[in-house]
Structures are given as C-alpha cells and as structure tokens.
Amino acid sequence: MAGGRKAKPAKPKAPTTTLVIDNGADTLKAGFVRGGKIDEPRIIPNCIARDRSRKVYVASDLDKCRDFGEIQFRRPVEKGFIVNWEAQKEIWDHEFFDDNAPMKCDPAETRLILGEPPNGLPMLETNCDQIVFEEYGFSSYYRGIGPTFNAYHDIQSMFQTPKDAPTVSNAPSEAVMVIDSGYSHTTITPLLQGRPLQSAIRRLDVGGKVLTNYLTRLISLRHFDMRNDTYIVNEMKELSCYVTSDFKSDMEKSWKGTRGERRPDFVSGGGLAKDYILPDFHARSKGILCDYEPARHSKARKAAGQSEEDALTLRNERFAVPELIFSPADGGIRQPGLANLIQDSLNELPAGLWPSLLANIVVVGGNALFDGFIQRLQKEVVQRVPDDCIVRVARPADPITNTWYGAANLANHSQINKLAVTKKEYEEHGAAWVARKFATGLGTTFLVRFVKVEDGIYHRLHLALDHPPDDLLQSRAVVVDVEGDKLALPAAQKPRQQQAPGEAGPAAARDGAAHEHVLAPGEEEVVRRRVQVRRRVAHVVDDQAEDLAFLLQRVDDAAGLVVDDVICACFFAERRFCG
C-alpha cells in the first residue's frame, strides 16, 4: 500500500488504493487497484453456509467444506440488492477488515467502488451509503450501476474488430448494450459513453437462481427429491445445461415416444442425453458429467449391486432449463423473454441509436457461460430488428469478472474523481446528497442562467451542475456577461482570501481586497467548483467551501423581480447537490 501511495504523488487527496467490489448475490468479486495496478480479483461466495453437521462457514471458508449434502445458505443479497446488512457485514469483515482477513485493508485510506444493479430502491441505497461511511469510514466511495462498468473495456476487441483509429485507451466505449445475466436477474442496460440510458433499462426476473430452482423441481418430479440439495443441482446445471438453437428438434430427440414405443434416439441417448454421476462426498466431491450409457441403468446391474454410483439421466432438462431466459412463460413466469425485452428497450430509444447498440451487445454474468447462449440470443434478436441493423453479440473472455475489471479500469480513469464522494462530503451534506450525486453520475447538462444584477446588466451564469464530458470544462462555474466577451465578476462583499494559496486562480480572485473587478475583454473568469444552496441563496464556492463569488447573494439582496429569478436558478442546483 505504501508503495502505491508513492507512485502517485501528484494527487495527495485521492487515495491511491481502491477496493473494487462487485457484490453479487451468489459471489462477490473483490480486488484492489493500487496506484494504477490492477490486482487479480477474488471470487468469494457471498453467503453464510451451514452443512449437515451444523458447522457454519462464512464466505471464503466454504472452500474448506467437504460435504455439500443438504447444505443451507444464508445470503445477504436478495434480488441483487444488499438487504441484510448483518450478514453482509459479517462477510465483508471476514474478507476485508478482520485481523486475519485475506484481503485486509484500512478503509480510512481506501476508496471503495461498489457495483449495484439498476433501478434500486432508494432506502436500500441509503442504507448502503450509511454503512460504508458510518460503519467502515471509507475515505472515498462510489456506488454505481454494475453493468455500466462494462463500458470501461475495449469492447471492439471482444468483437475482434480491427481498430480504425488509435482510440484513447481506457476511455468508456461509445455505445454498448450490456446484458447482465446473473444469479438474481437478467438486466439490459444500453450505455452511451459509459452512461446508462435510464429510460431503456429493462429487467427480467430470471437468473441463475430461478434456473437452479427449476431444475430442482424437474429432477424432484422425475427422479428423486433434491429440494434440499440446491448446491448440487446448481453444479449440475452449470455442468450440463446448454441453450439450444432449435428447441423443437431437440425436444423430439429427447422424447421416449408413445405407449410401449421406445424411440431409437431415446434408447441411444441421441447425443443429447447425459448421465450425471452425483457426488457422494467420500470418493467423489464433485459430480461428473458423462455420456448416456444404457448399460449403466440396466436392471440386472443394479440388482447385482454393481453400480455403486448414483447416476441421473438428464434429457430435455439440459436445454429446457436455460430456455426460461428466452421464454419465461415456460416456467409460469409472466414476463417477456430476453429478446423481446431487448426489443422493448430499443423501442424506448430513437431509431438512430439502434444500429450502434445492436452491433455492440455484450453478455456478462454467469449465465453467459451456457453453451449456445450467444448464438441463440443473436438469432432471436436478428429476427426482431430491421434487416439493415447488424447484430453482433459477444461474450468477454470471463463474463463473471468482466464487470469487476471494468470497475477496476474506472478506478484508474480520471472520471472517478468526479464520481466519487469523500467521507468529508458525506458528513457535510448527508446521505440524501450522496444518493443524488450518485444518481446523477456523469451528468450531461449545464445550467445557463441569466441573472440580472443591475438595470441593463445581465450575467450569464454557467453553473456546473454536473460534470461535462470534457475535462476542459470540468467542474467550473463561469461567470459571463450576456454579450459574451465582457466578463465581469461582481463586487465581492467581504474582503477575504478567496482561494487557497498556491492554487492557480485568476488574479482577480486572489486579490481579496478588490471590491469590483472587470476583466479585460476575452479574458475568462473562472470560478471553481460547486454551487451550494443555503437559505435559498446560492453561493459559488470552491473546494474548501469558501465563498468565491457573491453574485447570487448580492442579487438576492437587491430589490425587485431578480430575487425570484435567483431562487429559480438555485432550485435546480438544490435538487442535485444539497442535502
């Protein structure tokens, strides 16, 4: 950690160590970014488990578990959101903060980047922020929508497109459609320059959990009761299930036939049936998938007691289970399938964006690992969109950690400094302010206001309410005259040291004694940082919350219609920035 701090002496304020957590419902992906160097993330089970002999395992202790029969889990994350903080804190403590934690870190010197699913509940977000700052005391923190992190990758290399221009490395991709199919749900997030198009985000409540439960149900109906062994069923699902490209023909192949009939494909397995040999946790700790072998199931052999292993034949279960993602109604879930949902999402957007989004569909999350998922999705999407649109669907090399690596790339990006919130800011402005700042993210609009100062003199005030895309205009409020070139800073009411010494500010701002200063034409007066509203009066303040300009306050003091106008001007700022 100390070495990392030395590596970046230019920014003393921002912590150089970043803890990046993609807090999934099944596994949490966590790792450090130290001084620009990205460590390998660890994939930690995000659960507290209890096995048959009532021994309790917390998070990564689960590796030590030898017997997964009838194991039970307690998960702090429900539907993708951290709900039970008692359990989540136990897991985080165990992994990051205990004395003998495998990834020990000191929150006071660390920035936290936490991914969460889109469309969360405000209450849960507030809880999360409060725990992060009040319980752990991270020095800096950013909570963002997990799928958006995937934009911080070289998306074009996933599609194996030759680069046509030397793009700036590490810049967020221009347009991506991220399909995140995880444990709790599958989300569709269209992104533009790494920013989500909120109105087009869609969610399908089918994820790995539903698929596992569905397979459990099928097996319990057809073979034997596995309702207490979801862990084993989950392994079985991961090993044996695939997404079919032709549901109907696979269905025919796996059918046994009418009464008395045994179709040849059924008897031989048809290349489709597989045997899953269940683990017994003595000789075998993992199940094995092998080709269907009729001899294994012969009655004579079973009667002779030769088969010491429990084998389970999987036929149409292999493809009927992941089919739920494309057709949830098969399992009784009244929601449109993934491809329809993508179409639904696109319908929210202008048609001009369709070609770029459709050409860059990226599938992440554990379900992307099913064989045939990408091909099937591409096939179904092509059927639903105009012929002219090229549809490309890609899966990153590791769909599970892709979001994490994206977040790690963001940690190295300059944008994170605009996004993150420090502990001091939290203490100053409160949780609601933090929530609003995170919701704004990398905003796009500038507020331009004309403020009447005296008769005939209007000031055009650019309030940097959020962060413009270009670093050039970053976080600045520019006071400009309406004529554009004649820029005036109105009278400062109190002589005061307006900017921290050493900071390169305009001469006028540093000259505290100047009561009135008119800049030369063409010279730009830049007032740094934030707009803060108190008592319905806006101050333009710098990083240290020192007033730099008294423009609005002064107008407020002035008589007449101007006051209303200023209050309006402040309102927009107030909603975004003040607690």
């Binding site: 307690r74 359990a87 985000i201 009784g332 329809n340 001009g352 704004t440 205009l473 927009f572």
Partner: protein
C-alpha cells in the same frame, strides 16, 4: 347453476304467478358435458374450476422458483471471539438490526410512492402554476423517493450550445460521394443519428423504479405447455385435474399421482 336451459324471465308486469318460458340457451355452458361418458368421469369439476386451479398452481410454482434456498431457515452468525465489537452509530445499529426482507422494502417503497403522489396531487391543485412549470422543466431528475416539492422554475434554463459533442466524430473519413449512391436500388436507409441535444435529454431521463423496469407480458402468443411427467409437449390433458401430459404412457404415470391426490 344448471337448470337445463330454463331461465326465468323478468317481465315488467308483476303478476302473482311467475312466468316461465323455454328460451334458447346461447351462453356456452361448458359445465354441461356433451358426452355422457365423460360426465361420469368428471366428478363435478368444471373447466372453469380447472383453470382457476391451474392458475393458482402456476403462480405458486413461479413463486417457488423465485425462492432462495436458505431463506426459510436463518443461520445464526458465528460468535466472534477475536474481534472487539465497536460502537455503532444509531443509523448503523438500526440497519444492522433490521430483519426486513426485500419484499418489505419494496412494499415500503410503494407505499411511500403512493403517499408522495397523493401529496403532490393535492398541492398541485392548490398551485396550478407550479405544476405547469414542473412539466416545463426538461431536465427533471426527480426520483420518486424525493418528496421535495419542485419550486417554480422559469424557462430560461437551456443547454449550452458550446458544449463539446457527446459522441466523437467518426474516425474514418467517409469516402467521396459516388454517382451510384443515389441509385434507388443501392440507396441505404440508415436512420439519422439523434442530435446532441436529443442525446443529452435522453441521458438525463430519470431512472425507472424497481417495478417499472420489468417488461410487459402480452399474451400475443399462446403459452407453450409441457408434459408434467417427462417434459415433452403437453398434448393431452388429464380429465380429472387438467394436468398436461404428452401421451398415454405419461398419462398412466400421472394417474397414479392424480388418484392419490383427488381420489377416483
């Protein structure tokens, strides 16, 4: 009620004796089976009953799919020995002690949202001008959670014209126009990229809330049904309980279960 197609006519005349007449029974009375043989087999369970029962079954199964394996049993946290329990702030203590589930939080949120809506509706009636201005604000970023009443906002707010473009220009220089480009057979119809201003507006749209983000399910296509025994297409329906099976083989397997559940 099966009264053999006889309906009582309500006449305007009030007589002491009610009038009776035979009228054609136009409503589809599916509970009266056409086939007497079948009628014997169905012990008073109409198709209507069956669909209700199946709908309940479907809903229960969908709920079961959504359940997390270990949610029913709460596993107590292991007792900590090495770690000293620090003091929590009141907020943190409240959060840590909360045993609310996601469902509870979602209900709270919906209740709060309904309350906010009724409040804003009430106040907008008293302040019509305020409501108008609220609509005029193009960059509204009002999450449903913020119950703050928007202040009147005048329409002088605008996007800055000299912001850098949101999307960088294409890297490749477009090839020069060719004569053949305007050929009606060759012309390609690519939709116009939205303008910068449109994109900014789009990006500034407020997030949907949890419930709004799911897609609408439309019953445009019939739901596929599967054999409940083997998983093949469900082509045959059990006459007793309406369960779908694929063929006689599976029907027999199903009947064993059906008999134990519903009797003969």
């Amino acid at each position: 009620m099966n009264n053999f197609g006889v309906i009582e006519l309500a006449s305007a005349k009030t007589t002491a004796a009610p009038g009776w007449a035979y009228v054609p029974d136009t409503s589809v009375n599916r509970s009266a089976p056409a086939n007497r043989k079948r009628a014997r087999n169905v012990p008073g369970l109409s198709i209507g009953d069956q669909t209700v029962r199946q709908e309940t079954k479907r809903r229960k199964e969908a709920e079961a799919l959504d359940r997390d394996g270990g949610r029913d049993n709460t596993i107590p946290l292991p007792v900590k020995s090495g770690r000293a329990q620090g003091k929590h702030t009141p907020n943190v203590r409240k959060i840590l002690q909360s045993q609310k589930t996601f469902g509870n939080y979602l209900d709270d949120f919906l209740a709060l949202q309904a309350l906010t809506e009724s409040n804003t509706a009430a106040s907008s009636r008293s302040n019509a001008a305020g409501a108008n201005n609220k609509k005029a604000a193009p960059n509204k970023r009002d999450t449903p959670s913020s119950s703050r009443q928007p202040a009147p906002e005048e329409d002088t707010q605008m996007l800055d014209a000299d912001l850098p473009p949101l999307l960088p220009p294409p890297y490749k220089i477009l090839p020069p126009d060719d004569q053949a480009d305007s050929d009606p057979l060759l012309v390609s119809r690519v939709p116009e990229m939205p303008s910068d201003e449109e994109l900014r507006k789009l990006l500034a749209r407020p997030p949907l809330n949890y419930g709004e983000a799911t897609g609408d399910w439309n019953e445009k296509y019939p739901v596929r049904v599967f054999c409940e025994v083997c998983g093949y297409w469900g082509r045959v329906r059990c006459m007793k309980c309406g369960t779908r099976v694929c063929a006689l083989d599976c029907l027999e397997a199903h009947r064993e279960e059906c008999v134990t559940r519903y009797g003969l």
